[in-house]
């Protein structure tokens, strides 16, 4: 390890150890799940990047949204995202969460995922190769270094807008707001 890296570790140990051990929630949300088992097994080993899947969202800090999002899946995604402890990062694979992809005119898929939960980065490909997933993870490290991966901070600050967008889709969400929303509790 050279001198500059050693100084980084000594100055900000929390950020460095956070970066190099991103634990992924094990949730297969869409068709991208076909390239995740090759990434976590022996040939394209993801554990050398510190990435490994864990069982519950309470132990994870990276959420990979693998592909398109349907109406029925968005509710568990929001619920899982809210259960993760901070700091947490979201990365989505493919072109379907950006703009709809090839299911843009379907009555059962969500076109812009950005309006419902904050997304830090997008990885191109349909489906992205394991090498592309690793390139995305290393880019996320640079973003964490510079402080640009702050989706969770934006979620906390603009929670009212996110919550009203979520309530437009579902008539009753089933759980109370996560962060205290103005004067609703007192009335």
């Amino acid at each position: 390890m050279d001198r500059s890296k050693l100084i980084k570790w000594l100055k900000e140990p929390m950020k460095m150890s956070n970066k190099y051990s991103l634990h992924v929630v094990y949730f297969c949300t869409g068709c991208g799940i076909i390239e995740i088992p090759p990434s976590i097994t022996a040939r394209w080993d993801a554990e050398r990047f510190g990435v490994k899947p864990v069982a519950t969202p309470r132990q994870a800090n990276l959420f990979l949204i693998t592909g398109y999002v349907s109406l029925k899946t968005l509710k568990p995604i929001i619920r899982t995202y809210e259960q993760m402890p901070e700091p947490k990062y979201t990365v989505s694979l493919g072109s379907c969460p950006i703009d709809g992809g090839m299911y843009w005119d379907s009555y059962n898929t969500i076109n812009h995922l950005d309006k419902y939960i904050p997304v830090d980065g997008y990885i191109a490909g349909c489906m992205p190769r394991p090498e592309a997933i690793f390139a995305g993870v290393t880019h996320l490290w640079t973003m964490i270094d510079k402080g640009m991966a702050d989706g969770y901070v934006k979620y906390r600050e603009n929670y009212e807008q996110y919550r009203s967008n979520q309530e437009e889709i579902y008539a009753d969400l089933g759980w109370p707001p996560l962060f205290g929303v103005s004067n609703q509790d007192e009335q």
Partner: protein, 168 residues
């Protein structure tokens, strides 16, 4: 050999319309009232595999066309005969308003999920089905989604197009 099932159906039922459309496919047009009797007859003649129940929306002629596809499983364990290739495609017509027909669950146990799916996608009611609850869809639509008068692009524009993006 392939014509055997056509002769059998024609000799036992009146007012059905049987024709051999390809080498191994027999198409039978039958009226709604005698559909279940014909299905039972086919099952007793060893045609016991219900492969698919489907529906086509003929909006111009104003009816639904229900389609049942049955084929035989193997008759002997070890050898294959010509008979196993034949599939019988049964078709019947239903009116578009208030479409109702009896369920085929007592004859073929495999019919249960297909009838549930057709109920929520087209709005057809199967009388006697024990569990006609939604299967794939998460919400109710005004017009069932697979009908030809449901415009999916207009629905997406109206329902999701007005949600604003989140700004800092």
């Amino acid at each position: 050999m392939n014509n055997k099932i056509t002769e059998l159906i024609e000799s036992s039922f009146r007012d059905v319309d049987v024709e051999l459309i390809e080498e191994d496919r027999v198409r039978v047009n039958v009226k709604q009232e005698s559909l279940l009797t014909l299905l039972n007859f086919l099952k007793e003649n060893r045609y016991s595999h219900l492969a698919l129940i489907s529906c086509v929306d003929r909006i111009e002629e104003n009816f639904f066309e229900l389609i049942y596809i049955v084929s035989p499983y193997m008759q002997q364990d070890e050898s294959y005969t010509e008979r196993e290739k034949v599939n019988v495609i049964l078709k019947t017509k239903l009116p578009r308003e208030n479409a109702q027909i009896g369920t085929a669950i007592e004859i073929f146990g495999a019919a249960e999920p297909y009838e549930r799916e057709l109920h929520e996608m087209f709005g057809i009611e199967f009388i006697g089905h024990p569990r006609l609850t939604p299967l794939f869809l998460e919400r109710e639509y005004d017009i069932p989604p697979l009908r030809k008068d449901f415009d999916t692009r207009a629905y997406v524009e109206e329902k999701f197009g007005s949600i604003p993006p989140v700004e800092d």
